[in-house]
């Protein structure tokens, strides 16, 4: 489902964000990615969501080879993935409802379907009563839940979440993790980056660790 083969990513100067990454995640797997800040977690996630491209090596997500992907295929790939960005990437001028509806709108869904699905997912993350508000009027934890709702609303085949519980209290973190496990149980491949080692231990899932741009299986 997700495959990295000898992937390198270098940013300006000689900053090696990723070094010879080899990773294979099967369809329907639930994987945690841990590592210290600046280790390369976000860069790895950016490769998967076609946010960025590798300098060398091969990345394949589903049937899409990201090194060879054409400009026309990029939107199709991105529509099949749900992404929880660490910096949220919510549109401040739009309401919560409109932000969550975006993935459905770009897929050309009708208004009735959009209203039904958006209300359902906002209900699941406990924010349906704030759907008319703009992101700036929500707390950090609430904004994070909006991003999770946006990533899940179109029932993607792959869900990648960069620190999805980073701004949530322990109780809400567990609820969100339950939600993500439910999504995974329905067949969605889930990859989660987190600092929270307790959370990882409690869930007993596959763990990969990244440090200084290098990947290893299990805890570091």
């Amino acid at each position: 489902m997700i495959e990295f083969s000898h992937v390198y990513k270098t940013y300006s100067g000689t900053v090696h964000a990723l070094k010879n990454i080899n990773l294979n995640i099967k369809k329907g797997e639930f994987v945690f990615l841990t590592g210290p800040s600046g280790a390369g977690k976000t860069t790895l996630f950016r490769m998967i969501s076609a946010y960025d491209r590798p300098c060398s090596g091969h990345v394949q997500v589903g049937n899409y080879k990201l090194n060879e992907i054409s400009a026309k295929e990029i939107p199709t790939l991105r529509r099949s993935i749900g992404v929880v960005y660490q910096d949220f990437k919510l549109l401040k001028a739009k309401t919560i409802f409109e932000n969550v509806a975006l993935p459905l709108e770009v897929r050309g869904e009708g208004e009735t379907v959009i209203r039904k699905k958006v209300n359902e997912i906002l209900d699941r993350v406990g924010l349906v009563y704030k759907k008319g508000k703009c992101p700036d009027f929500l707390s950090g934890g609430e904004q994070q839940r909006v991003v999770i709702a946006r990533a899940l609303v179109h029932q993607p085949g792959v869900l990648i979440a960069d620190e999805p519980t980073g701004n949530l209290d322990p109780h809400l973190s567990e609820e969100i993790m339950d939600l993500l496990e439910n999504i995974n149980a329905q067949g969605t491949t889930v990859l989660i980056a987190t600092h929270d080692h307790n959370l990882v231990k409690r869930r007993n899932k596959r763990l990969v660790t990244i440090k200084d741009g290098e990947l290893s299986e299990g805890a570091a």
Binding site: C55, A71, T76, R79, L90, L91, K92, L102, P103
Partner: protein, 312 residues
């Protein structure tokens, strides 16, 4: 449609200064273009009225027979861009001459020794629908084709004057097209810069739309429509502004340049020209928007911004 209207309204709401500046600058540009069309159209009118005075005179020999004249007439009738030939007999030519000289040399009319030295002729003029720049070429071709006919003594069309006139028309045509091109490029640049500012302010929106899988047309269409609406509004404002200028200057120009004596009449743009200016505004708006938004919406807007110039 409502989402495009919302996009435009939100653009005006969030960047009123940029939008207002664009409207003022673009309206100014289209006023220049409209004024240019008004001037060109009126100058064309004056030049055409001058062109209508150009006549091709075919002077016939005294020995020219009716058969010769008929052959020449038949040849002339095939020249589609000329009006039908008018035959002026020797007697008529003398009468015309006498009439024209009646005031300046009245004694001439009573001089019986003078006889009639004037030849009979055929006269024709170029149709008014013909472009002034073509006149010299048409007259040369017609003169060459007639000169060899039996019974023709001389063909005259005021060669020197017509050459100067044709040069003037060609020069005006070329310089006016160059000026128009310059204005069009300028207006495109203004729209492009304005939309680029608008898109730059909304870079985040373009990024998020790209990341959730919006296609290029989904992202670009609202901006292109915004450019078209800007073009439409500003070109209509420009037409109204130019009309006010026209009303204000009309009497002064007619008086100063004495256009009536040339048979010309100072007039504003006709409906087709007005539609042309509006279409130009809308097209420039669409093109300017397309160029600026396509520079940002590459599919990798977020990566480019995050990684800067070293993005690869």
């Amino acid at each position: 449609m409502s989402k495009y209207i919302n996009h435009i309204l939100s653009s005006f709401k969030t960047h009123p200064t940029i939008q207002l500046t664009t409207i003022i600058v673009l309206t100014g540009t289209y006023v220049l273009i409209s004024t240019f069309f008004v001037a060109k159209s009126n100058i064309d009118g004056v030049l055409s009225s001058w062109g209508e005075k150009v006549r091709l005179n075919i002077y016939l020999t005294d020995s020219a027979t009716d058969d010769d004249i008929n052959k020449i007439k038949s040849k002339l009738s095939k020249l589609k861009k000329f009006s039908p030939a008018e035959y002026v007999s020797k007697e008529q030519a003398a009468k015309n001459f006498m009439a024209s000289m009646a005031q300046s040399a009245p004694d001439l009319l009573n001089n019986s020794e003078l006889g009639n030295p004037l030849p009979a002729s055929l006269e024709l003029s170029i149709k008014s629908s013909t472009s002034g720049a073509e006149h010299l070429k048409l007259l040369k071709i017609a003169a060459e084709s007639i000169r060899a006919f039996s019974g023709v003594e001389e063909v005259s069309y005021g060669q020197g004057w017509v050459k100067n006139y044709s040069d003037l028309v060609s020069g005006f045509k070329n310089s006016s097209y160059a000026f128009l091109l310059l204005l069009i490029l300028g207006s495109m640049l203004v729209v492009s810069n304005s939309i680029r500012s608008s898109v730059s302010q909304r870079l985040e929106e373009v990024e998020v739309l790209e990341l959730v899988g919006a296609t290029q047309s989904m992202i670009r269409t609202p901006y292109i429509i915004e450019g078209m609406v800007l073009g439409l509004i500003t070109s209509i404002l420009a037409i109204m502004g130019t009309y006010l200028l026209f009303l204000w200057q009309q009497s002064i120009i007619i008086k100063e340049f004495d256009l009536i004596t040339f048979g010309g009449q100072f007039h504003f743009l006709n409906l087709m020209q007005i539609l042309g200016v509006i279409s130009l505004g809308v097209s420039m708006g669409a093109a300017g928007s397309y160029f600026s938004v396509s520079k940002i919406n590459t599919g990798w807007a977020a990566a480019k911004r995050t990684n800067g110039a070293n993005w690869q």
